[in-house]
Point group: C2
Chain length 558, copies 2
């Protein structure tokens, strides 16, 4: 079969002028700030004016543990948004922005796929509206001001060995992971070892995605711990006096970006924090704005439900006071087969037994999400090689778990292919069965929070942590950070910390290697495995073939 | 007297929607890509469609050597544009974009001043339309790909000690001037010493400002010399295969930005190369587009005429085939007094003798500019403390030099204050006396080009250069770069290389410390003194007081 590629479909889109999309949401011209003819930002004044309006219903799209077969979480988020609009509900989609740097390594990510995409795809994979550049600038201004403070006398008595604030760049550049700065003599400062992370890994990114307005943004920026003194007392961004200027740099980036689906339905594409060392969700301000403007808001969370949905519930919903009305767990027959032990090369052949064998991974995610008090439906994202028997096997398994699995063909057919799911989501959301509560209370001790996630979500037997880590958590509790949620950084490929253990394993341990305080974002990062915060480029980077072709189109990016 | 500040005036501006400004230039809606309601980019397709149209007349605004008293070159550029529109000429202004980083050190630069400004001032001093961020990304993508190439086997045999391509950031960050990268073990690459420059100092910036279209941009990017082998043979950006992806990153940045003056006249604000290690002019594509759309185009060049006008003529006009019709040299009574030996604190008191004593600096610039075959008028940018006798002294001196000096009050009165200058410019431009030619022919040997500028423009006796420098120039001539113009990097404060020698000194020598090849931009940089390519922040950076105030306005940036 010959399919059109995502970018071919995207280029054929009949886009409406962005003001027309804004009109559907009732955003007046003066409050919709265009970026070209197909992208816009919504003004802070308009967002403020929405206060007091009732909220629409919030639908989370999450997934099984990702496999190389792909599950199509963003595609289903977009498709469901279109589907809800098709059945007469005013629905708004909320997804994350793409990081620029990785696109030059591997091929860039589409925003959805097939006939369930948001456009303009090219711009969204390049500079878009400049939000990530603003975050890079704000982050690095603080870095420059820290070294500048030390240079001019170090009144705050920063211990140069304990500057935890690094620099960032939206680029895959392994050479910058570990560097020494301020060489070259007196006029360049005091040499010290530091490094760069990729911009999405910046705490500024996480803060922007959790801040409720500019005032809250500035407060959170001020709260960032940037360094310590020799007596280990913390030094805050506020002490460096960078929080005001950083807020100014971020004022436009804080405004949600409006684009459209192929079917001309509104989508807010805003924020994109790293889904391991941060919480990996669309911004709170975009989600909350969408809730004021739509009857339904469909949003996604990073990775599988063990990481993404857990952090969506325990960090984003807890902190922003959001109450999800239903959740969709995306699965594919192919991914079930891989969980059942089939190699990628053999996915084309029917194998009902393997599908059945892989289903427990899905089953555990269903139970986990339900445990937050949120009703669940499973979306089987259809792939053309799926057989009826395989689909039936997934449906039967899900029914046994007390949920329903619905076959969705939005990739091939757009909203027409996902009506059943849309109807089911409405039934769940309007049924009133949702009774959301986070997994653990704020006042639970930090280590116990980690244990709760590990045991109840990962189904581990125990958490392993050195005394130094337990002591560190205790120190933070004493310093007043005990009420923060934990942000788990673990492989997305497994419920365990071993990326190769598929399915629904039990009896494992969760080793905690390191804990980090993100005082501005408002969580404790718990690192259970290798976390790479600055990727490298592959041997043959995608950048080598990216170019503008003779038709003036970008080639090689997708 | 109590004056309104520039930002107060800018905030009171009665801006027209940017499409209305575009309408004045005949730019159709689909070809004007808005960024908010008051900024836009002009599409490449529209620019291509202008080919074959006749050109308007090009007017250069340049100045005497800058003093701490200020001369108001951009203010006069904007004022003259408004003045020409006032007297019925369709005039377009072409100025440079501001660099973000330095605004957090000292207070940000306005785009003009008083009642001769372009707006929106805030955005122009922050991210504007993201051009500089795109340049940063394109530059650093190349950097990452070079280290990545070495990491994966170094097929091109790059000598790690001879990587001349550094990284850039739009930030004043002295700690990044001199760094060691790739520490931390095998997976981070091969440790080597390198550093960051500020983005405006990037050769990518100079290239963007000289490229005539996207195709030319990609060719020039490919031409960049990024490193050398052990046998000293050069390695080009093209060998790293980064030129295509860099062009993709720069495709929007190549489109000129349209904004408006306080009087709602069109202004292209585009490009902003470092005026010492590059040529310091508005982009060729913006200037050429403006020439197709207006009867008059008023543009500026960086620093005083010895540096700015010389490079405007010998680099920009030579390479782009531009023929300026007239030049305005901006002077102030206060700057004449400083050139005449008065300290800044004493500038308020009338001192006709000091004015007379300072005038030879102006006189030499007049003669220099005329030597390019371009007719000259002097604009005395009026300051409220100037006395009639002082103004008269300048006028009399200029008349002796065979030119006219016209008192201009655009700062206080907008276009109404600069009608006389506008009329005089029209008289000169339409008089047909211009007969522009660059100072030296392409085929003159490189060292002789340096001598020509030093002797004929700086009025030096000789150029001092080590054998190694002369040998280097010879090597480049042998490699086919002998036809390039020279880009002089010298203090802007004096005709000499000593910033303290004001007036019109003679008998000095010009020592050349270093020469650099910018093969993509297409010039040889000749460094005659300290050139700082990464500034630092002052002890109390402006950033410390920059914030969003209770009215939602940015405070402390201006």
């Amino acid at each position: 079969m010959a399919f059109k590629t995502d970018i071919e479909i995207a280029r054929e889109a009949k886009k409406q002028p962005i003001q027309q999309i804004g009109d559907k949401l009732g955003i007046p011209t003066e409050h919709l700030l265009p970026y070209g003819h197909d992208k816009a930002k919504v003004s802070q004044d308009f967002i403020r004016s929405l206060e007091g309006r009732p909220d629409g219903k919030l639908i989370l799209v999450t997934a099984i543990n990702p496999t190389p077969a792909g599950e199509g979480k963003t595609t289903t988020t977009v498709g469901l948004g279109d589907g809800l609009n098709r059945i007469g509900k005013k629905a708004v989609i909320c997804i994350r922005e793409a990081s620029l740097g990785p696109n030059f390594g591997m091929k860039g990510g589409a925003a959805g796929g097939g006939y369930a995409q948001v456009v303009p795809m090219e711009e969204m994979n390049l500079h878009f509206t400049g939000d990530f550049h603003a975050i890079t600038s704000a982050h690095n201004l603080l870095s420059a001001m820290i070294d500048n403070h030390i240079y001019w006398g170090n009144e705050l008595q920063i211990d140069e060995r304990r500057v935890s604030w690094r620099r960032v760049m939206d680029m895959n550049d392994r050479a910058l992971r570990d560097i020494v700065v301020s060489l070259g003599g007196v006029s360049n400062g005091f040499p010290r070892q530091t490094g760069f992370d990729i911009t999405v890994a910046s705490e500024v990114m996480a803060i922007l995605c959790l801040a409720k307005d500019l005032e809250d943004l500035q407060k959170r920026l001020g709260d960032i711990v940037v360094a310590y003194r020799r007596d280990k007392s913390p030094i805050y961004c506020r002490d460096i006096k960078a929080d005001g200027a950083m807020t100014v740099l971020l004022k436009d980036a804080m405004q949600p970006n409006l684009v459209q689906t192929l079917e001309n339905n509104p989508a807010f594409v805003h924020g994109g924090p790293f889904a391991n060392i941060a919480h990996g969700c669309n911004s709170v301000i975009a989600t909350k704005t969408a809730l004021k403007l739509g009857e339904y808001v469909v949003t996604e969370a990073g990775f599988g439900a063990d990481l993404g949905a857990e952090k969506f519930f325990d960090i984003k919903c807890r902190k922003a006071g959001l109450k999800p009305a239903a959740a969709v767990i995306v699965a594919t027959v192919r991914a079930m087969k891989m969980n059942g032990g089939v190699a990628k090369a053999d996915l084309g052949a029917e194998n009902v037994e393997a599908v059945k064998k892989g289903c427990p991974n899905l089953g555990r995610h269903i139970a986990n999400v339900k445990s937050f008090g949120v009703p669940v439906v499973v979306a089987i994202n259809h792939f053309y090689s799926d057989t009826d028997a395989e689909v039936a096997a997934v449906k039967a398994y899900v029914a046994e778990q007390g949920a329903e699995a619905i076959l969705c063909k939005h990739w091939a057919n757009g909203s027409a292919g996902i009506e059943d799911l849309a109807n089911k989501v409405v039934e769940l959301a309007e049924g009133g069965s949702a009774n959301f509560a986070p997994l653990y209370p704020d006042d639970m001790p930090l280590f116990q929070k980690i244990e709760t996630v590990a045991k109840r979500i990962y189904h581990a037997d125990e958490v392993l942590a050195d005394k130094s880590i337990r002591d560190q958590l205790k120190t933070w509790e004493d310093a007043g950070y005990g009420h923060l949620p934990v942000c788990m950084a673990k492989t997305q490929y497994s419920f365990t910390t071993d990326p190769n253990r598929r399915g629904a394993p039990t009896g494992h341990s969760v080793p905690v290697r390191e804990v980090r305080l993100s005082a501005g974002a408002g969580f404790i990062v718990v690192i259970c495995g290798e976390i790479m915060t600055m990727p490298g480029l592959p041997k043959t980077p995608a950048a080598e073939v990216i170019r503008i072709n003779d038709e003036g189109n970008v080639e090689g990016l997708f």
